[in-house]
């Protein structure tokens, strides 16, 4: 194992200001970046373009207003320039809410951004700020900062009634995971199927800022990821006295999805019969397809892989590993988590892998540097057949070197065009199976 240093090659996450895509993922929200001239473009090209070609949409891409700080803002401070930019943005841009995100320059020269933004807030403008200088952490950290900013500065306090059958969802990081849109749609669909009202909060199925205003009225929060969203849920618990349910593994495939729905149903006190009815109808369809797929899976002559590796964010890494082990019967060989998981969550995640199945345990490495990832994969014993590598564009070269099949599932996915595809739940699992095995048998094409 290579000794860990500060060096990052083959970058696998953005910096805090990458959370401008957290903001732009909420319908009607436009981010304003208070940073140098290239910061927003780097996040745009990295997260929204060469990563599934997801597109900047309404408020991201080349749309987002930016200070494009020059020497003047460094030497004399940038608050005047920010004030002017906000005024001009209000004049030109049509948004329900603006989110100001700061970069390294503003945070280093000590611009008093809170006071500039509060001038506008006091006038009733829908605007919030988050201090997201890149040296503060990555876009996972930035995401939670932006979420908290919107809750504190826009949603505000609430003491009224709650609807026990309404849930706020905190799950995949928008844009970082190229499949977030399709996946959140599937998560919303299945939860509505068992009778919940769902505040999905990000993506086209979110009701935008009105939905965010309704966050405090939900009966509970569902954190559907190994750790991202936990801080938010804990904060909401304190702020609105709102309980949360934490389920680390996003369900993929009927077995895991049905188990997931039963757990949520019981937690929320939903009608058990209705839940079972929904599960039954979903499983009927799922297994209809699987029955036909099984002809291929049981007797395709030219060899199918037995072992696999997953390289990527803990959310997809855990979800995929669970599905591949428990529902496809594949053998985990190397699981590498790359998002710079905060230390306090690592043991919990290791435990999830340790008991990945009744009869299977898996180890997990936490690595951020791509060169090191490559070395680990090269040194892994994948046995006598080519493995499947679920990873990113960075890992194509090493997959080729070891003769494996590559399925790009995470940032950056520069050789995938992703529009509405999902890999989770009932429907997403079928897409995933199609993707995996089209890739595998396509090699001889």
């Amino acid at each position: 194992m290579i000794e860990k240093t500060n060096s990052i090659s083959q970058v696998r996450y953005a910096c805090s200001i990458g959370a401008l895509y957290t903001a732009s993922s909420i319908p009607g929200v436009i981010p304003i970046t208070h940073c140098g001239p290239g910061c927003a473009d780097k996040q745009f090209m990295g997260l929204a373009f060469y990563n599934g070609f997801q597109g900047g949409g309404y408020g991201g891409g080349a749309v987002s207003p930016s200070v494009n700080a020059s020497e003047k803002e460094v030497v004399f401070g940038g608050t005047e320039r920010l004030r002017e930019l906000i005024k001009a943005s209000l004049k030109i841009m049509d948004a329900d809410l603006f989110v100001v995100l700061t970069g390294c320059i503003a945070d280093l020269v000590g611009d008093d951004v809170p006071s500039v933004v509060s001038e506008f807030q006091e006038k009733g403008v829908n605007i919030v700020y988050a201090e997201t200088g890149g040296f503060r952490g990555n876009n996972f950290i930035g995401h939670e900062l932006v979420v908290k900013s919107i809750i504190d500065q826009f949603v505000g306090s609430y003491n009224g009634e709650k609807n026990p059958h309404t849930v706020n969802i905190w799950s995949l990081l928008p844009y970082q995971n190229p499949f977030w849109r399709g996946d959140l749609s599937e998560i919303k669909r299945i939860l509505e199927g068992i009778g919940l009202k769902v505040n999905i909060l990000f993506g086209h199925q979110s009701g935008g800022v009105e939905e965010w205003k309704n966050i405090p009225k939900a009966g509970f929060n569902l954190v559907l990821s190994p750790w991202l969203g936990l801080k938010t849920a804990q904060y909401l618990e304190k702020k609105y006295n709102q309980p949360f349910l934490h389920i680390p593994a996003i369900p993929i495939g009927a077995k895991e999805t049905s188990r997931f729905l039963r757990e949520v149903s019981e937690y929320a006190g939903l009608d058990r019969e209705k839940t079972e009815q929904f599960i039954q109808s979903e499983e009927k369809e799922y297994y209809y397809y699987l029955e036909h797929f099984s002809d291929f899976y049981s007797e395709y002559w030219w060899g199918l892989p037995a072992k696999f590796a997953v390289v990527g964010d803990s959310a997809y890494n855990l979800a995929l590993t669970k599905f591949l082990v428990n529902q496809l019967g594949l053998i985990p060989s190397s699981q590498i988590i790359t998002e710079n998981t905060p230390d306090e969550y690592k043991d919990g995640i290791r435990e999830e892998y340790r008991r990945i199945a009744d009869d299977v345990t898996a180890g997990v490495d936490f690595v951020e540097d791509g060169y090191t990832v490559g070395k680990i994969l090269e040194e892994t014993d994948f046995g006598h057949k080519p493995p499947i590598i679920f990873a990113t564009t960075w890992d194509r070269d090493v997959a080729k070197k070891i003769g494996g099949y590559i399925v790009e599932v995470g940032f950056p996915a520069s050789y995938e065009v992703v529009i509405a595809r999902s890999y989770v739940g009932y429907k997403g699992a079928l897409n995933l199976l199609e993707k995996i095995f089209t890739t595998v048998i396509g090699r001889s094409a």
Binding site: N6, S7, I8, S9, Q10, V11, A14, C15, I17, G18, I30, T33, G36, P37, G38, C39, A40, D41, K42, F44, M45, G46, L47, F49, Y50, G55, G56, Y58, G59, G61, A62, V63, S64, P65, V67, E71, E73, V74, E84, L85, K87, A88, K91, I92, M93, D94, G103, C104, I105, L108, G133, G134, F135, G370, T393, W394, R396, D397, P412, S414
Partner: protein
């Protein structure tokens, strides 16, 4: 025009050297006049009377460090270290995609780039990040054994004041290879093309061979990743191509001082390096219009022929190509008849593309460039690409300088309603698409070069005109993020002229 100063590690920015502007609007002839090309920048005491019209609004642009990634990060046997917090490292993703596609286009083995970030964190902002830089230098040396290590600076390192030059010198002695600091923090220059200059400055200082042995048939071609169109052209003159900087090896860069001359596809990109090679090593830069359209290409080939003593070969190639291309062009012009185009690219490159559009009989009465250099580093009027365009192909009624400002692009498109746009750099085509206008993204920057470039570009335009069906359909189903007030504005620069407008919502 001052001399290129290679004494310090820090390059002078474009605006300092050339008087570059990033916001301007008017007729092309007016811009050309204001640039006072013939008398040189400031030569007659009037200076460059180019009034920049920058307003209170701006959208995310592009920075110099990105251009360093795109050049220094793409030298095949070197490694670039980004001394920066991890956000700067995001560029690794897009420049990897460009690198891989570029390698494929040039029939090289496709592989990941090796750009590595020193990953500065909060404590480094207080205590300095030099030890992290040192570690990353050692890491990339141990991992890849590169022939050269480049170091790019960042806004953060410039503010905290890390001694990058000191660390570079220390490791250059320790490792025995050039370790080259490239000062390119984004806030230092208002235009990203300073990043090109920064890379080229470092290469001139620390890579180019100081005691060259002349290779009389070698031509430096300063380019990016474009397809290999220069080899067949220059082979007609018995000349060999030395492509730099992207996809080059360190040896390719070192031997630049041995070449017979230097050319490029775009003076924005090649200005600094070509002038530096001439000044320091006597390698002549070809001072001619850029190789676009008949007029430009003829003059360009002739000048190469003159400088390399191959005038007869040049003339016979010109005659041969005219005879070959003209009938094809005639056919193509029939198909393109009635179309209106709009160019939105880097500065000098746009001058070339507009020439080609006009050769193709495509109406081009409006265009935008991301910046404007009143003069290039040679200071030679034979390189006045804008003046040459106007002189040979006529004026451009609406010629705007706008550093990738999408909100202005909207109003500019309303002026002319083109059938298509030609673009480089991302972010403008998505708006055109939402307005029902297709764009040809010229990822292969060589597509329009030379005689055949006219055919290539014409065919590319026919391809993308067919896309119109997609974009028109989309345009019926999207809402733009701009307010009605802005969408009804006719002047894209109104906020710069009347900044008080922002005081009322």
């Amino acid at each position: 025009m001052g001399k290129i100063n290679l004494k310090t590690t820090v390059v002078e920015s474009r605006e300092q050297r050339l008087g570059t502007v990033v916001a301007w609007d008017g007729k092309a002839s007016k811009l050309s006049e204001a640039s006072l090309y013939s008398s040189g920048c400031g030569g007659d005491g009037k200076g460059c009377e180019l009034c920049e019209i920058r307003g209170p609004f701006s959208q995310g642009s592009v920075c110099s460090e990105q251009m360093v990634e795109c050049q220094a990060g793409h030298v095949r046997d070197a490694v670039l270290i980004q001394h920066a917090p991890v956000g700067c490292a995001l560029g690794q993703v897009d420049y990897n995609s460009l690198y891989r596609n570029g390698l494929a286009m040039r029939n090289q083995p496709v592989e990941n780039l090796r750009v590595t970030c020193s990953n500065l964190i909060e404590s480094d902002m207080i205590f300095g990040g030099s030890n992290r830089l040192a570690q990353s230098i050692q890491d990339v040396y141990d991992r890849y054994r590169p022939k050269v290590i480049f170091i790019s600076t960042s806004c953060a390192t410039a503010i905290i004041g890390d001694d990058i030059d000191g660390t570079a010198t220390e490791y250059e002695e320790k490792l025995g290879i050039p370790v080259i600091p490239l000062h390119c923090e984004g806030f230092r220059s208002k235009h990203w093309s300073t990043g090109f200059d920064s890379t080229q400055h470092g290469i001139l200082r620390q890579i180019v061979r100081k005691n060259p042995e002349k290779q009389g048939d070698l031509v430096n071609v300063i380019n990016l990743w474009g397809s290999d169109v220069f080899t067949p052209i220059l082979a007609e003159l018995n000349l060999r191509v030395n492509y730099v900087v992207d996809l080059a090896t360190v040896e390719d860069l070192a031997q630049m001082s041995e070449a017979a001359c230097t050319v490029g596809f775009c003076y924005t990109l090649s200005s600094y390096l070509a002038a530096g090679l001439e000044q320091e090593y006597g390698v002549p830069e070809i001072k001619a219009p850029q190789p676009y359209g008949f007029a430009g290409t003829d003059a360009w080939i002739r000048e190469i022929g003159r400088v390399t003593d191959r005038e007869e070969l040049a003339e016979s190639y010109i005659a041969k190509e005219h005879a070959r291309v003209k009938p094809k062009l005639k056919e193509l012009k029939k198909k393109l008849k009635g179309l209106k185009g709009f160019v939105a690219t880097g500065s000098a490159y746009a001058h070339g593309l507009i020439s080609v559009l006009r050769e193709l009989g495509i109406e081009t009465d409006a265009s935008l460039v991301f910046h404007h250099d009143p003069v290039y580093d040679s200071g030679d009027s034979r390189q006045d690409s804008l003046g040459y365009l106007i002189e040979n192909y006529g004026d451009i009624a609406s010629f705007s300088v706008s550093n990738r400002q999408q909100y202005q692009f909207y109003a500019l498109l309303q002026r002319t309603h083109p059938d298509f746009i030609l673009i480089r750099h991302n972010g403008l085509a998505p708006l055109a698409s939402r307005l029902g206008i297709p764009a040809a993204p010229l990822g292969d920057e060589h597509i329009a070069v030379g005689y055949n470039g006219m055919i290539n570009l014409g065919e590319t335009i026919l391809d993308i005109i067919a896309h119109k069906k997609f974009h028109e359909d989309l345009s019926q189903h999207v809402k733009l993020p701009y307010k009605k007030w802005w969408l009804n504005q006719e002047d894209p620069y109104i906020l710069a002229k009347e900044p008080d407008l922002i005081e009322t919502i």
